[in-house]
Subunit: 106 residues, 2 copies
């Protein structure tokens, strides 16, 4: 199916305060996040490259020890295996893209 | 640099009414589009897989002969080499992701 409404897929909350619908294409995974102010993304890493597109709100992202508060329209690029963590300064909406597919989020 | 503000990159208009800032990660390309109501995306195809995330507005997308009007939060998945075209029913904002990198949009 070429057309998907992510909100019709299962709503998951892999970290407290981080609610997400996933969409998988052939090679990429997309995470449509709604994040509560104050929610914390614990430090972690994965072999997948990840690109965070901030739609609304302010999200503080740390990548390999470098920290920035990202607002609407900003992008965070997390290379393969880079250690990263974060914190929602306000309620946020973010679309993450991953390559390759997040098989763990199928 | 892990943090990018796409609006600081060159604004391009590859099709009339389709204004875009590109961001490239290691493996993917992202297109942050602002599209004028009525603008037409001519039929084309490319080997890159493409995933369109509609942020605002209504965009009519045709993929391999199947057509749907996509609203905010909807996703269009365009497989590698699929023929696709489109039309902005209203002003739109869309974030497209491509794999692999669009070297032609570097």
């Amino acid at each position: 199916m070429p057309f998907v409404n992510p909100s019709e897929s299962r709503l998951r909350e892999p970290f407290p305060g981080f609610k997400v619908h996933f969409v998988h294409s052939d090679k990429m995974t997309f995470a449509h996040w709604t994040i509560e102010a104050g929610a914390v993304l614990p430090e972690h890493s994965h072999p997948h490259e990840q690109v965070a597109n901030v739609l609304d709100g302010i999200f503080e992202l740390t990548v390999d020890g470098e920290t920035k508060q990202l607002g609407p329209g900003s992008v965070g690029i997390i290379p393969s295996n880079a250690v990263h963590s974060g914190r929602a300064i306000t309620n946020c909406r973010i679309i993450d893209a991953f390559y390759p597919i997040r098989e763990d989020y199928r």
